[in-house]
Symmetry: C2
Subunit: 610 residues, 2 copies
């Protein structure tokens, strides 16, 4: 049943070597790697205006200088990542760059931050996509959380089936979004320039208002920095580009940054001009769309394109998280299961973990994009800071050519990121504090897992220079557990005699039916005179404890006599699997109890035919 | 951890023979066996008035004639059950009486109804007890469902620890309730007789009102019949009485019925006189209590006593359900697990099943007593009808003494019960329909389970007259599964050589690292020249399918050569159990796959020391 369902939902298993490798041209790469960054305009401006609105609508003009600063930051980060692309052409994820330059622990902080961050990428993109859907169809408002969860589950399903990152259909939403946004911004600006739209701004630039200006400014700026999430995607994917890889990747990065800058500037400008105020069940982007297009077809196309690119952006989490989990598992900081490829060659365990994690985040934060943003931003800017500052060390180690200039560029990127992290902790502490719990826990898990794997490897290791020590047993003994006298018992005894030169039958008897216990003993001895029958009596109703005690006794003797010991459990397997529920799970319990002992446990299976 | 928690919550295991047997005097028996019946006055009158209120408050006077009819019904049922007590002194549950007289299938209908009914006893008593608590503290209204669920869980915990049915402390709430109710009724009547309370009845007896009178009357009557639930408890428990058992039991039954009649008549009278109207968050009984006592200490004592006796009534479900499940399991209609006694000598599986079932019912019916009542009544009156009519057959078979008179009494009981069942289906179909789904499903399960056990017994049976056929194997072969070359592998090979005269090593190799696979083969052959090494290559990433195919091949050969075959899986056991999550569960998957084959599967355990 389960097998069949899995086959239908996930598809037929693929061979290991079916995994092809493909190389991306700039056009395709732009579409595939930029969805996360570009889609952030769907919530970036909104975060700034929401933060400003706390000081009243007179403060809204501040979005223009803040947007300018975000653009400066975007420029700095773009330059920094261009350098990472050239320095680590084999793909420079923050985990790798930080580990190489700063060392293990900072690397793990970067890796752990990114693991959480990818979960947040999925959660933020999906809740934001849900908000785009609700802006178009407000009556869906009350179903926000179920809609978001369903989208995550669909993405999980698609990724378990296996999406090649190169899947052509993923480029459509990205280009559709780029086209819709460009059209909206140009059309909106055209209306403004030709004077078809009156100036609606709630307050002219420079209007004074009450409130702590610098604090407010930093609050809004740090919220708006969430627009820069996803910029690092290209630097991780350099090996997937066509030759010359670093050059193509760097070009794509610059192109993406220009588009993002244009979108961000355009949206902020329109938002200011039209006097858009966030709130209600309609996103800022949807309000701008309504203002520019009215409530016609173009508006709905914009909402569809927005929701679609956000889904694609969430999907980037589904390719990045399992890959990072794989890298951490390869370095023995995460469980081995993240190394396994599923039937469809995706890292299924990583995909499922990510889906569960992001669904939990959606529930905790009640599907609110705004509540998720500060944590998301911290998760991004901590690894940004670490990898950019790591690059300074990298340049210092190399000290070639214009290394000081390069180091300065990375220093600017690192410094701005660091300031942002500090600002986020100071001004958004209510949204950011979980980071202070998650990170130490994750680090502890990483280190504990790592220690365990190292200890295990040491204990299992065969020293390869000397020949392995062999042991020769003088013979073998078998204890066969007998609960009653059936064909299963008989067959199991025959088998036991084939592997053991001494066979012992152990029966645990209870108080409930002494007459039956006595008769069993008599009959067993009559049928199997060649097997010693031992009846261990217990006053309780569990066979585990007395059986263990007896096995321990025999095991001691067998060791002294240098003979191997096998405990044989006869078990019948019903015809249909539901019927297992109708039989006592004693053998299961016994097996798990015996696993704690130094004996070999064998199960004799008897298959019922109907 | 789990073990420790279980020990704290459930207590230390008890020996089988610790189970004493005790015999109940009338006074204690009354307290222990009547809680279910007596507590039904907490919701019985309320059901009648609620049903009548549908036709407007002018119809409320009808509660008096309806109450009269319920009392007649109570008399008839009491007489019927007195006869069952004398006819089946070993305890005449409806399942047993119906099975003996009507046959297997009707017996199963009675048994299945009662299983559901005990779940409803718990659900109804607990939600009704919660209503009593909320009547005293209305602000708890929004927590009704959590409170009910917590009460069920506490009852489950107590019963897993093991309550002797005779536990003395259970008598306190019952006698407290009897005392409070008697006092309230007498005090209320005294007030009425002395004229201290004005006549508040909403309508005098005989007032005419709009509405289909007969339909309304029957609706209200069938709802009110829920007051009679629990009357059968004494007849099931005859063996627990002191000698002369049937006489003592019959006396207790009559005493209980008189008290119940007094309560029911008194409460209905007061409800009518004070013009009580159900609704809001206050139960009818609480409203009467307020009218009689005011909002003082006595009122709160009444609510506490009501809530407590309802908890004790729910507790009767916890002793009846596991016992009935045991009887059904003994007759092989339910899984064997219901035969097992837990550490504390209770039938743990029955207790847990009951708790889960009643919590599900509470959720489905949103913790509303009223919604649960019709289904509850059907679950009671179907077995009533079956067992009473079964008694007619019983008397006919015996045909001794006044058998015709006895048969007529049971006929009256059966007839009234049958009319009630029909009425419930006709007039309360919206609350009763689940019965029509649950019952066929239960019957199908009973019969399927029964068939399975019979088939299994047949296949396992050793014909006791002829000696068991023995089989002698010519030798034994072992396949040892090898994934890498460690100390575990080496020890497992040594063990394999002790039980098999031919040992084969099977390695499944993947595409991902061909060089490693090659090196493993070379090293293994060098270290173990005495073991044949077979490398099976797979293009997928699961070892199960290729391993199974190989084992099948070898198994065929071994059978032809008349040799036993063992598949040996080396497995290391980490020091702490959480560490299991860090290792591939391949051996688990392999074992469950191999269980489908005719081979013996042995596990060689290697215990890591740290």
């Amino acid at each position: 049943m389960w097998r069949y369902l899995k086959r239908v939902l996930i598809g037929k298993p693929l061979k290991t070597l079916d995994e092809g490798s493909q190389h991306l041209g700039k056009g395709k790469a732009l579409a595939l790697l930029s969805s996360d960054a570009l889609s952030s305009v769907a919530y970036g401006t909104e975060q700034i205006t929401t933060a400003l609105l706390a000081a009243g609508s007179l403060a809204l003009w501040l979005q223009l200088p803040i947007a300018l600063l975000v653009l400066v930051l975007l420029g700095a980060i773009t330059l920094s990542y261009r350098q990472i692309i050239h320095a680590y052409p084999s793909g420079g994820g923050a985990y790798m760059v930080t580990s190489k330059n700063w060392g293990k622990l900072p690397g793990l902080v970067a890796g752990g931050s990114l693991l959480v961050d990818y979960m947040l990428t999925v959660a933020v993109s999906v809740t934001s996509g849900t908000a785009a859907i609700i802006s178009a169809v407000p009556s869906l408002h009350q179903y926000a959380i179920p809609i978001a969860v369903i989208i995550v589950l669909i993405l999980m399903g698609i990724n378990l089936r296996g999406v090649r990152e190169s899947a052509g259909f993923l480029t459509i939403p990205v280009y559709a979004f780029i086209a819709m946004m460009t059209f909206m911004i140009l059309y909106g600006l055209y209306n403004i320039v030709t004077g078809q739209v009156a100036y609606h701004a709630t307050a002219a630039v420079g209007t004074s208002f009450k409130g702590l200006t610098l604090l407010l400014f930093m609050r809004a700026f740090s919220s708006g920095s969430s627009s820069l999430t996803g910029v690092e995607a290209i630097s991780n994917a350099v090996p997937n580009f066509k030759e010359p890889k670093p050059r193509n990747a760097a070009g794509t990065l610059v192109l993406m940054s220009i588009i993002l800058a244009f979108f961000f500037a355009g949206v902020t400008m329109l938002s200011y001009w039209y006097g858009i105020r966030p709130g209600g069940h309609t996103t800022v982007l949807a309000q701008i769309g309504t203002a520019v297009f009215g409530h016609g077809v173009l508006f709905y196309l914009l909402q569809i394109a927005t929701a679609m690119i956000l889904a694609v952006a969430a999907n980037t989490g589904f390719s990045a998280f399992p890959q990072l989990a794989f890298n951490l598992a390869k370095d023995k900081f995460m469980p081995h299961i993240y190394l396994d490829k599923g039937d469809r060659l995706g890292y299924s365990n990583g995909i499922v973990s990510l889906a569960i994690g992001s669904i939990i985040l959606i529930f905790i934060f009640h599907g609110s994009t705004e509540a998720l943003i500060p944590l998301y931003a911290v998760g991004v800017f901590v690894p940004f800071t670490l990898s950019q500052s790591g690059m300074i060390i990298h340049w210092w180690r190399e000290r070639e050519g214009f290394w000081i200039g390069k180091a300065i560029i990375n220093f600017v990127g690192a410094a701005i990121s660091a300031v942002l992290v500090v600002t986020l902790f100071m001004l958004h502490f209510t949204g950011v504090w979980p980071y202070l719990i998650i990170m130490p826990v994750l680090l502890r898990i990483f280190l504990k897992v790592n220690k365990h794997y190292r200890i295990v490897a040491k204990q299992l290791k065969v020293i390869s220079n000397e020949p392995i020590k062999r042991h020769h047993y003088e013979g073998s003994e078998v204890i066969i557990l007998v609960s009653n006298l059936t064909r299963v018992t008989a067959e199991a005894v025959d088998y036991a005699k084939s592997i053991g030169d001494k066979v012992l039958a152990l029966h645990v008897s209870f108080d409930s039916n002494p007459e039956r216990e006595y008769r069993l003993g008599v009959e067993f001895k009559r049928e199997f005179p060649d097997v010693r029958y031992v009846d261990v009596h217990t006053s309780y109703r569990s066979i585990t404890v007395p059986a263990l005690r007896f096995v321990d006794e025999i095991a001691k003797g067998a060791k002294e006599r240098n003979r191997s010991l096998t405990v044989l459990i006869p078990q019948f397997i019903p015809h249909a699997s539901w019927q297992n529920a109708l039989h006592n799970q004693n053998s299961l319990r016994l097996r798990s109890a015996l696993a704690t002992r130094d004996v070999t446990v064998a199960t004799y299976y008897f298959h019922l035919s109907e």
